[in-house]
């Protein structure tokens, strides 16, 4: 059985700063990390492998990104993935979620037969959660999102629990399928020293647009149906009305004021 985990390298958002004068993002010196939510998908795949008889499940990590995304793949190899494929090509640059899913789908087809594809819930930079379901659509597979529990059901099914607004759902799906996982699923393991050594020596396969045989007009910015037209800073400091409490009269007045404001905004 083959499990594929698409992972994305993202800037460490806690370190992202805004240039106050230009309103642009300061990316210099910002570390790139594996999208934290993808680590849960990696962990889920490793646990499925461990629960199966030795040598029956292979876990392949897959990433589309610039050449330095190889570092992210090595981190996932250090956690225990069996092999890694980097999809990198100038033609991929500027891809939106449609175009990203298209490239990942072509790579999954090249890895076929594949039984299960495990994505993170969303990437912390783009923050859309659209690539997983999009990938499933390109591959013509069912998708299960917000999965908080996952078990294989031999010979060719899986059972999941997924989180929805009203509670949890239990579902069964035929394999192959795509799942996107949430944090509740399992705490990701840290790489072991041996894992790190192995990852350093491991080969990361590199595939380009030519290897995937996709038409050039579908790739990168050119192939993306959406266009970012403008980037700007949100209204940062809202004008804050302060109600300072010095005595109980202040307190009564503040409570009245809060009720009045919430009422005026239709919030009560």
């Amino acid at each position: 059985m083959r499990l594929v985990v698409p992972i994305k390298q993202v800037p460490e958002t806690t370190a992202v700063r805004m240039d106050e004068t230009t309103g642009t993002m300061v990316r210099d010196g910002v570390d790139a990390i594996v999208n934290p939510l993808d680590l849960y998908a990696v962990e889920a795949a490793l646990r499925l492998r461990e629960a199966a008889p030795d040598g029956t499940i292979e876990v392949v990590a897959l990433s589309m990104g610039p050449p330095r995304a190889e570092v992210a793949l090595r981190e996932v190899l250090a956690m225990g993935a069996d092999r890694a494929v980097l999809l990198t090509d100038r033609a991929f640059a500027g891809a939106d979620t449609w175009s990203t899913a298209n490239v990942l789908a072509a790579a999954v087809r090249r890895l076929w037969p594949v039984d299960l594809i495990l994505c993170g819930e969303r990437a912390t930079d783009g923050d859309t959660g659209q690539v997983g379901p999009g990938l499933a659509a390109f591959l013509g597979l069912p998708v299960l999102t917000y999965v908080s529990r996952l078990a294989l059901q031999p010979p060719a099914q899986c059972r999941v629990e997924r989180l929805v607004e009203t509670g949890r759902e239990r579902l069964e799906a035929d394999l192959p399928a795509v799942v996107t996982v949430v944090k509740e699923l399992a705490e990701p393991r840290l790489p072991t020293l041996r894992g790190k050594q192995r990852a350093r020596r491991a080969e990361v396969a590199v595939w380009t647009a030519a290897d995937l045989g996709l038409p050039a007009e579908d790739l990168g910015l050119k192939g993306s149906p959406t266009r970012v037209e403008r980037i700007f800073r949100p209204r940062l400091g809202r004008t804050c009305e302060r109600l300072t409490i010095r005595d109980s009269a202040d307190l009564e007045a503040a409570a009245d004021r809060v009720v009045a404001v919430l009422n005026a905004r239709g919030l009560l």
């Binding site: 930079d125 959660g129 069912p142 997924r162 009203t166 399928a177 149906p225 980037i231 949100p234 919430l262």
Partner: protein
């Protein structure tokens, strides 16, 4: 095919307990503004079980010109393949120029799947939608990088232009029971209903995603000092029909469980009202809540970061403030005699719905 400007604007309604879910009406409010700007008709499309006329009519009263109900037992509960196949078939036939859905667990799953089937673009979690008067294109504005920036996105060449909108981010439209519109019921063909996913069981609970979809969230920080004091925050939350959120410090100390954590390493929420109680407003916490429509902070430190993003702040001791504020809010609500919701048990917001 109708001329581009007259092509309809569609919103994807979702069923909940025998009626359209509350988010459906929020989408109609959004869609109405766009359809009016384009002089185009607004349709609500509702896949699911067959609903009574009165339930569909409520979508027209809310502002739709037409309702297209795609009715089949196989469409409830939601699974992605039949929903996407039925919607794709209707979109291909009727060529809407815009399709909006709520960023619910259903909308976030079916919309990206559908966008690929239709080979068009999709913008997630839009906070602002407008029509560009020059081109008639949909301008889709959304937060990115944890709310650090806003991006305006356009889908210039592909149709329909697809976007999702956070639930509870739009005030409900005022219904007009006299509004006229078209009701159309359609039973999709069996060929569209194939699903390789089988629904086994639904386990109701309020905690799973309720926080993310609540209209009001009370976020508790370390200022609450110990778990025993949480009753104060809970009472405030109850007076506002709010879900309870927390900072990481509160969760790390075990005062509330992880599902309550708001922020970078917790949940992202965008309620209409966020009340930050004894919470400093670290960058990581702000990343999970700063797109809230209104922010009220209660903090005894006039320099606290949270005041920089708040609309309203009570600078004082929360242990004095909360009891008084809670009592006053209870009183105000009682005075109004319950809330004027759209009647149904909108299922999208746990305790707040």
């Amino acid at each position: 095919m109708p001329p581009a400007s007259m092509a309809p604007v569609w919103v994807l309604a979702e069923p909940a307990d025998g009626r359209p879910a509350r988010v459906s009406y929020e989408l109609i409010a959004r869609g109405r503004a766009l359809a009016t700007a384009l002089s185009a008709p607004l349709w609500a499309v509702l896949p699911g079980p067959s609903l009574p006329d009165e339930a569909l009519q409520s979508l027209i009263a809310a502002g739709a010109d037409g309702v297209l109900a795609l009715e089949h037992e196989a469409l409830a509960p939601f699974t992605v393949e039949p929903w996407a196949a039925c919607l794709a078939a209707q979109v291909r036939e009727r060529q809407p120029q815009i399709l909006l859905a709520a960023a619910t667990s259903t909308g976030r799953t079916v919309m990206p799947y559908l966008a690929v089937l239709l080979r068009t673009g999709l913008t997630a979690d839009c906070t602002d939608l407008a029509i560009d008067p020059a081109t008639g294109d949909l301008l889709q504005t959304r937060p990115a990088i944890g709310g650090h920036i806003l991006a305006t996105i356009r889908t210039p060449r592909h149709r329909p232009q697809m976007a999702t909108v956070r639930p509870h981010a739009t005030p409900l439209p005022v219904p007009d029971p006299h509004r006229q519109g078209t009701l159309e019921r359609l039973r999709p063909g069996e060929d569209l209903l194939r699903s390789r996913v089988r629904h086994l069981e639904h386990i109701p609970s309020t905690e799973s995603r309720a926080l993310q979809d609540a209209e009001v969230v009370v976020g508790v920080g370390r200022g609450i000092r110990k778990a025993d004091n949480l009753g104060l925050a809970r009472a405030l939350a109850e007076s506002l029909d709010a879900a309870l959120g927390a900072s990481r410090d509160v969760v790390d100390r075990g005062w509330l469980d992880y599902p309550h954590q708001v922020g970078l390493s917790g949940k992202t929420v965008s309620p209409r009202l966020y009340v930050a109680v004894g919470l400093s407003g670290s960058v990581q916490h702000l990343a999970g809540m700063q797109t809230s429509e209104t922010i009220l902070a209660i903090n005894n430190d006039p320099e606290a970061q949270i005041l920089k993003v708040a609309d309203l702040a009570i600078v004082g001791d929360l242990f004095e403030v909360l009891p008084v504020l809670t009592a006053r809010l209870q009183q105000a609500r009682r005075g109004r005699g319950g809330d004027g919701d759209h009647g149904g048990q909108g299922n999208q917001g746990g305790p707040a719905a």
